[in-house]
């Protein structure tokens, strides 16, 4: 019986001209967003690959130089776009694309898309995720708001129940039928995305991406299911189609527009952060005077020199086989990095606290559950961004320390000498490897659970409501 009700809903939906117009529109937008996303992904990826290649070549082709000059010359780290970011650009437009890596200081990641655009970008970008998260639910609302009210108003509900069908069966039949109609709209776009991915050589045999795409699809199935159940339940609960529609639209606006912004802003108000200038000053201060005022830099340097002389059993720097300058530089870099890491971890923790408010709001609002899940799977969330920053900083530290070691090995009077150009070719360049899905899973647990909780809770509570729904 559920099957025949589902079939009836499916067929009559397809015959409804309003639905056909709306769904063709949504499908068109989805396909367009997939293609546009793909094109912009490719442009950005190409630009960044070329730029990374350029700076790598530049690094390898340096002339004879002193290693500390090379440490100041430095390098750049470009953030490659993650494989699925063409489906959900997430934070990518608001995070920088490149960071300059040099000795002594940690620079900011610069040149974000948002900085290269006027306030238009703040209306939201037209990505696949945007259509799936905001527009498909609207389509579902328009599709389902009259599911029960219409049957009641035309008196067909009574007829249906007199056939020995329970209200629950009617509800499930409708949910399945609408589900099929929605699948018809969303399916082709996801298939196109999968096909586009498959066409790329680098992704063709990358199981990690395929699992991510599968989970991406599965999360949206749950999300849409939620909206279908919710709309059908509201339609059964409300007496009139009009009030059902207004209620559903109100929920959509609250959940998809107002709450996400409000919680993000509230988080920023509750957990304030310091500016980059303050952070840099604090790092510098602690590095100079020592953490908590212990071991100021002068004392550390003096101790280092003293120990060196003792170790090699000599009385002056001139007799040392190593360059004191290089070793002091290495010690200072290690100390400053340690201080910086603490401050960076503090800052990241504060941001995570700010964002946690939004993530936990996922328990109240399914939109705020699907969003972190979606960007996490697409690799364009905050955790992936921090991972890149950390990788760039790790590389910077390794590079600078390697150069400091080279300087130390040059012995006394290194400042007057240079190292051969071949030295730079032996130094590995920055290569970023995006973390695997298993790494990201921890960050996705809360939103995934929230979404499942919603699905189970809504079906359970909703069917209870439907049991009590008036028939006439």
């Amino acid at each position: 019986m559920i099957q025949s009700i589902a079939q009836k809903e499916f067929v009559s939906t397809l015959r409804d001209r309003r639905f056909v117009v709306l769904s063709v529109l949504v499908l068109g937008l989805l396909l367009a967003a997939t293609l546009v996303g793909r094109a912009s992904y490719r442009t950005l990826q190409r630009e960044r690959t070329v730029a990374q290649q350029t700076v790598n070549d530049q690094f390898h082709h340096q002339p004879n130089r002193h290693p500390h000059r090379v440490a100041h010359y430095g390098s750049f780290a470009f953030r490659p776009k993650s494989g699925l970011s063409f489906l959900d650009a997430g934070l990518d437009s608001f995070t920088g694309a490149s960071v300059f890596l040099e000795a002594h200081q940690q620079n900011s990641v610069n040149f974000s898309q948002a900085q290269q655009s006027g306030s238009l970008i703040r209306f939201g970008e037209l990505t696949v995720a945007f259509v799936l998260q905001l527009l498909v639910p609207l389509l579902i609302i328009f599709l389902c708001f009259s599911a029960f009210t219409e049957e009641r108003e035309t008196g067909t509900l009574k007829l249906l129940l007199s056939q020995g069908v329970s209200l629950r069966q009617v509800a499930w039949g409708k949910i399945v039928g609408y589900g099929r109609a929605v699948a018809l709209v969303v399916g082709p776009a996801l298939a196109l995305a999968a096909w586009l991915l498959f066409g790329e050589e680098e992704f063709g045999n990358n199981p990690d991406l395929w699992v991510r795409l599968a989970l991406f699809g599965a999360s949206y199935v749950v999300y849409f299911f939620l909206f279908i159940v919710g709309s059908v339940v509201v339609s059964a609960w409300q007496q009139h189609a009009r009030t059902a529609l207004v209620t559903l639209l109100g929920c959509w606006m609250l959940g998809c527009i107002i709450l996400p912004k409000a919680t993000a802003n509230l988080g920023a108000n509750l957990f304030p952060t310091i500016t980059k200038a303050q952070m840099d000053a604090a790092v510098h201060e602690e590095a100079q005077k020592g953490i908590n005022g212990h071991d100021p830099q002068d004392k550390r340097t003096a101790l280092l020199k003293e120990n060196l002389l003792k170790k090699y059993g000599v009385t002056s720097e001139k007799e040392l086989p190593v360059s004191v300058g290089g070793l002091v530089m290495a010690e200072s870099e290690a100390y400053t990095s340690q201080v910086y890491q603490q401050h960076f971890a503090d800052l990241t923790r504060t941001y995570e606290r700010q964002n946690a408010l939004s993530t936990w709001a996922g328990l109240l609002n399914p939109y705020q559950a699907i969003r972190p899940l979606s960007i996490g799977l697409a690799g364009s969330d905050f955790a992936h961004y921090v991972h890149f920053q950390q990788a760039a900083e790790d590389y910077r530290y390794q590079l600078v320390q390697r150069l400091n070691a080279l300087q130390a090995s040059m012995g006394y009077g290194d400042k007057e000498r240079k190292l051969d150009a071949a030295t730079w070719r032996a130094i590995p360049t920055f290569a970023y490897h995006a973390p695997p899905l298993s790494w990201a899973l921890g960050y996705l647990l809360v939103p995934a659970l929230a979404l499942l909780l919603w699905a189970v809770g809504l079906s359970w509570l909703g069917l209870k409501v439907i049991d009590k729904t008036p028939i006439a």
């Binding site: 010359y73 655009s117 006027g118 529609l245 108000n269 500016t275 939004s358």
Partner: protein
């Protein structure tokens, strides 16, 4: 007139009785107040951060005074001394934050090459800026249309559906008067709300009382009137309430969500911006190449730009600061065309959006409010130009010490130029936006009136 008042007060009684609508209106009021609170605290936070910068600069000077006892080499000071170019907001920024959270509101500067420093980002939570700002402009541009739709989607249709309209029109009342009174009541309610919120925000943000107050109010009023115009137009189609709701929400979706999204895609494709990164990479190459080039070559190129220092002593030393700063500046010079192309590209992007913003009054209203508040891209570019000029004056301050080899004394720190820049409103952009809004308004109402004239109201 008396009949109008009867209808008007009847609407008021209706409204009071409809608990959902009262709830919705109070919700919008609360949300508006939250928007004002958020906007003012965000700008307050930025102001506080800016106020803390002089202390950092002062601390830096104190450190340098111990590190470099008198008489110091100005080259060392220029290298280690950090100063700030600061971008203060207008009081209006609290009402419409625009891009002030995305673009850094200060730049840390040293005497080194400018292009490597000018584009540094500020600590920012990307998840927060992605979600966007919950300021008063957002409430007015995004949410007010929804309130207007909720209030007026069933302007006539509900009367018709409840069978009241035929009774009403049986009285000596014209249909135009009924629609007029209904619209007038809703207009009074929404515009009153917009006025109260704007007034509270202006008082809270302590905006100066000048022509901009009128501009803001005019923009907000016209924008609300535009949405009433759409409701009027849809009412003219004389369909049922569900159709009206779907049509109006559909229009909202198109104007507030779809057109901006599509326009964004179009603008980025039509005006590709030369990559800023290309510029910094090239500048680095030039500057570091300076170390390996013959000193006389570098100095001659520099003297061609600054002939006033040509008579200074020839450099024989292995390293000397004036040579170092000369190739730093030459690095900036070499990427000058790229830097100009980059900012021009950004400006062209912004201008293209402004040219096409008639496509959606929401974009028009948002960009006009941001222009009024001085929080959009042009203001940031103006700040960057101002920071560039500041860097020029810093160089001009240090060059005599470097080239005439004058010792830098501790008293000289106080003579160093400082920087301040306050956003100014882009009034002409706002006025253009206002004009376009007026045209959109005219079109919508003309279409509505034509529709009512073509198809007189059918009571059934």
């Amino acid at each position: 007139m008396r009949v109008f008042w009867i209808l008007f007060t009847a609407e008021w009684r209706h409204f009071k009785a409809a608990r959902g609508l009262v709830l919705l209106t109070s919700l919008v009021l609360l949300v508006g107040l939250y928007g004002i609170y958020y906007g003012t605290t965000e700008i307050g936070r930025q102001r506080q951060h800016l106020a803390e910068l002089p202390a950092l600069a002062h601390h830096n000077v104190e450190e340098l005074k111990t590190k470099f006892p008198e008489p110091a080499d100005a080259g060392e000071i220029g290298y280690y001394h950090t100063t700030f170019a600061v971008h203060h907001p207008t009081p209006w920024a609290s009402l419409s934050l625009g891009q002030r959270d995305v673009n850094p509101y200060y730049v840390k500067l040293r005497l080194l090459g400018l292009q490597g420093q000018l584009y540094a980002s500020e600590n920012v939570n990307p998840a927060k800026v992605l979600s966007g700002n919950f300021d008063l402009a957002f409430v007015l541009v995004y949410l007010f249309p929804l309130l207007i739709i909720a209030l007026s989607f069933n302007l006539l249709s509900s009367e018709k559906e409840q069978g009241i309209l035929p009774l009403l029109l049986a009285q000596p009342v014209s249909a135009a008067l009924v629609v007029g009174a209904k619209l007038a009541f809703r207009l009074a309610l929404v515009l009153g709300l917009a006025l109260v919120l704007s007034g509270v925000a202006m008082l809270w943000a302590r905006v100066p009382l000048d022509g901009r107050v009128g501009l803001w109010l005019a923009l907000v009023m016209l924008y609300c009137l535009f949405w009433f115009g759409l409701a009027f137009l849809v009412t003219g189609l004389q369909r049922n309430s569900a159709f009206n709701a779907v049509a109006l929400v559909g229009l909202w979706l198109v104007l507030v969500v779809l057109v901006p999204g599509l326009l964004n895609v179009y603008v980025s494709a039509a005006r590709p911006v030369p990559q800023g990164i290309e510029l910094t990479v090239k500048q680095r190459e030039e500057i570091h190449g300076g170390w390996d080039k013959p000193k006389t070559e570098t100095m001659n190129r520099f003297f061609a730009l600054y002939p006033q220092w040509r008579d200074t002593t020839t450099i024989k030393e292995h390293f000397v600061w004036r040579w170092y700063y000369a190739f730093q500046h030459l690095g900036d010079q070499s990427v000058q065309p790229l830097a100009v192309a980059y900012t021009d590209g950004l400006r062209q992007r912004y201008e293209l959006v402004n040219r096409l913003n008639w496509l959606s009054p929401a974009i028009n209203a948002q960009t006009s409010l941001n222009a009024l508040a001085g929080t959009d891209l042009p203001t940031h570019l103006a700040f960057q130009r101002s920071a560039t000029r500041y860097h020029d004056t810093l160089r001009a301050f240090y060059y005599p010490y470097l080239f005439r080899q004058v010792a830098f004394t501790h008293a000289d720190y106080a003579k160093e130029p400082t920087h301040t820049f306050t956003s100014s409103s882009e009034i002409s952009t706002t006025i253009r936006g206002l004009g376009k809004l007026l045209v959109s308004l005219g079109v919508v109402y003309a279409a509505g009136l034509l529709l009512f004239r073509a198809r007189p109201i059918n009571p059934r």
